[in-house]
């Protein structure tokens, strides 16, 4: 028995594939979990996040009532240092100096304030975070085997492949899609891909990746991949890798060489690696 749910959320398409015996409403529960994250974290329509941004832009502290938004803020606060400060939802090319360092999250009081006017844009983090919520919901519903994808840049697998063993995944080379950058075997893991290349990266209206330290945009042709137990962390790490300079990238990769990859497709850019060579 298996089940598939396909829908639009977080500005992209989401697919949930469940295998094995599943409760009849497991798919619906997982979908609702993802839509709830979308509703809480979106900045494209009124949400808990736009309300929070209105306060922070006006220089006010803000009581975070939405439990999903609070959980997201706590995760980012906890992982900010792990990303060397390179994942920064408050960074803004139009507002130099705005950044997570200016933010204080009071977890116990569920309050957030900022030392200067700024606004949060969770970007890819939301997709990984949403897949985490969906996995939690599926686990609670007794699902043991599942493959979840948000926009092909965020993947989460639960348990084992229905035919046994891990889930074999090959990340296509954005410049030569018949070839792979890397092949991986995943079990209870989340994978995030951040790339300045590929069809999706050229989509109109696509927000560029911003370096938090100087607010500049990443223009080098790069693809970063990160694997973690939690999708939210995988997202933060792949974003960090994409915007990292050579030294920072080395440090991030050295911490988990089998789980973090950076591919540089441009000879002219300050290359961390030789073209097409895996850093791991």
């Amino acid at each position: 028995m298996s089940g598939v749910e396909r829908f639009a959320a977080m500005g992209t398409r989401v697919e949930l594939h469940l295998f094995g015996a599943t409760g009849s409403d497991a798919l619906a529960v997982a979908r609702r979990a993802i839509e709830a994250v979308d509703d809480a974290l979106t900045i494209h329509r009124p949400s808990a996040t736009t309300a929070l941004n209105a306060s922070l832009m006006a220089g006010r502290s803000h009581a975070v009532d939405d439990p999903l938004l609070l959980a997201a803020l706590i995760e980012i606060e906890a992982a900010h240092a792990l990303t060397l400060g390179l994942f920064d939802p408050a960074a803004d090319a139009a507002r130099p100096g705005a950044g997570w360092n200016a933010i204080r999250v009071d977890r116990d009081a569920a309050r957030i304030e900022a030392a200067r006017p700024l606004a949060l844009d969770f970007g890819g983090f939301g997709k990984g975070f949403a897949l985490d919520q969906a996995c939690d919901a599926l686990r609670a519903a007794g699902v043991a085997s599942a493959f979840l994808v948000a926009g092909e840049s965020s993947i989460a697998v639960m348990g084992e492949h229905p035919l046994g063993g891990g889930w074999p995944v090959a990340i296509p080379d954005p410049l030569a899609p018949d070839q792979s950058l890397v092949e991986l075997e995943l079990r209870d893991a989340a994978l995030s891909i951040s790339s300045t290349l590929g069809a999706g990266a050229e989509a109109p209206g696509r927000a560029p990746m911003i370096r938090p330290n100087d607010g500049s945009c990443v223009t080098a042709a790069r693809t970063a991949i990160a694997i973690d137990r939690r999708g939210s962390r995988a997202e933060m790490l792949s974003t960090a890798l994409l915007v990292a300079d050579a030294g920072q990238a080395m440090r991030l990769i050295a911490e988990a060489p089998a789980h973090r990859f950076l591919f540089n497709f441009s000879r002219t850019a300050a290359a961390v690696v030789q073209p097409r060579e895996v850093v791991a």
Partner: protein, 420 residues
């Protein structure tokens, strides 16, 4: 159809309307339909209607009036004898027939008139009917000018007589169902309605002996009509205002006589954008030389689209991820293969073609229901709630569109309209 069969389909239709309007948001957004469909048992004397203008539409209206449980055709009137004779053949020889509406009004014995003449006669005929102390049911559009539309509203208010305009979509179960699903948030907030009425026809009718081109083809001449705007767009502008729950703030447009250069005076090609609050839009095209896209209102929200003329609702479901489809097939046949997946986030770009789901069809009698509602309104001396405001706004919008095209500039919504 036997009387029993008819009763059954009538009941099923009314139940359909009531079911569609059952939601809280819908009852408030279509109060006229609730009133009309729940009016029961419609016993007592029938409301006596005198039908003025028994051309194509007038005769359709007569057939619908005859189906109602509370209205009767008590007189017919047309100043073109062959059309009057056709009406008489439907209603029978004992219903009095008049060549002149004044004679019909003077003969008395009516509660209301039904006007289905060319557009430029709507207002003067309505004024005469109010003057004679009668209620008025008039086909859309209301009048040839915005001033006359306003004057009709004013006269109805001053004389405390009902004025109802023929907008059958307001009673159509598919539209009511569509509205219900919009109110339930199924397609997200509606930000744009793209509507069209495309036909491939000259719109010219043959001129029978004893008549003239201007009398038969009144739609093609400016004195009598604003062409596509008042004859077709009014219906869809009503739908637009209704589903966007507002009137436009302004309109820009371009009109031309592009294909049928046959001496007509009205545009055979129109394209307009009606702007609404919060940046919402109603984008409209109508022409007479390509029928591929026909008549439709595409009601577009962030989660889906409704096409009421087709009776379908579409969710914004993105196309399948091919690698995952293959994975499913592999697993089914016990084959484990690497899944090639991962890259920059996928963004939707291309139009999504899905069959969509049905909004529900049935045998509809919405024109009949308009008259049952009107009959009850006449009996109560009170109009069906909300109807006239919708019709007034739709007619004003159609005429404002004509102005925008004639002047070649944006025209803002008038500030001197009568409060309904």
């Amino acid at each position: 159809m036997t009387d029993k069969d008819f009763d059954f389909t009538r009941r099923a239709f009314l139940d359909g309307v009531l079911k569609a309007t059952a939601g809280a948001g819908v009852a408030a957004a279509a109060p006229w339909a609730v009133s009309a469909a729940s009016a029961a048992p419609l016993s007592g004397d029938r409301v006596r209607l005198g039908v003025i203008g028994t051309g194509d539409r007038g005769r359709t209206l007569i057939r619908n009036i005859l189906k109602t449980r509370n209205c009767a055709v008590a007189a017919v009137c047309d100043n073109f004898a062959p059309h009057l004779a056709k009406a008489q053949a439907i209603v029978g020889a004992n219903v009095p027939a008049f060549a002149d509406h004044r004679a019909m009004l003077d003969a008395r014995g009516l509660d209301a008139v039904v006007i289905a003449t060319p557009l430029d006669f709507h207002a003067p005929l309505a004024f005469d009917a109010f003057g004679a102390g009668l209620h008025v049911w008039c086909e859309k559009a209301m009048a040839r000018t915005i001033a006359d539309c306003s004057a009709m509203v004013k006269r109805s208010q001053d004389s405390a007589k009902v004025l109802q305009i023929g907008h059958q979509r307001m009673f159509h179960p598919t539209y009511l169902n569509a509205l219900k699903r919009v109110k339930a948030g199924e397609i997200g907030p509606v930000t744009q309605i793209r509507a069209s009425w495309h036909r491939n026809t000259s719109w010219r009718r043959p001129i029978p002996p004893g008549s003239t081109d201007r009398k038969i083809n009144w739609r093609l001449y400016r004195e009598a009509s604003a062409g596509l705007m008042t004859e077709l767009a009014t219906h869809q502008l009503q739908v637009g205002n209704w589903f966007l729950d507002a009137v436009p703030t302004r309109v820009i447009g371009s009109g031309s006589i592009c294909f049928w250069k046959d001496g007509r005076e009205v545009y055979d090609h129109v394209a307009l954008v009606y702007e609404y609050s919060d940046g919402r839009k109603f984008v409209y095209t109508s022409h007479l030389n390509n029928a591929r896209y026909g008549c439709e209102e595409q009601i577009q929200g962030s989660k889906g689209t409704i096409e009421p003329e087709l009776g379908r609702i579409y969710q914004e479901v993105p196309p399948k991820v091919l690698a995952l489809q293959r994975m499913q097939e592999d697993v089914k046949r016990g084959h484990k293969r690497t899944v090639p997946i991962g890259g920059a986030t996928w963004f939707p770009e291309l139009p999504v073609t899905t069959p969509g789901d049905s909004l529900g069809w049935g045998e509809y009698d919405e024109t009949m229901l308009q008259f049952e509602g009107f009959g009850e309104a006449v009996r109560a001396g009170k109009p069906l709630p909300g109807m006239l405001a919708q019709a007034y706004a739709a007619s004003v919008a159609s005429l404002l569109g004509e102005q925008a095209m004639d002047r070649g500039e944006a025209v803002t919504w008038p500030t001197d309209l009568i409060a309904v």
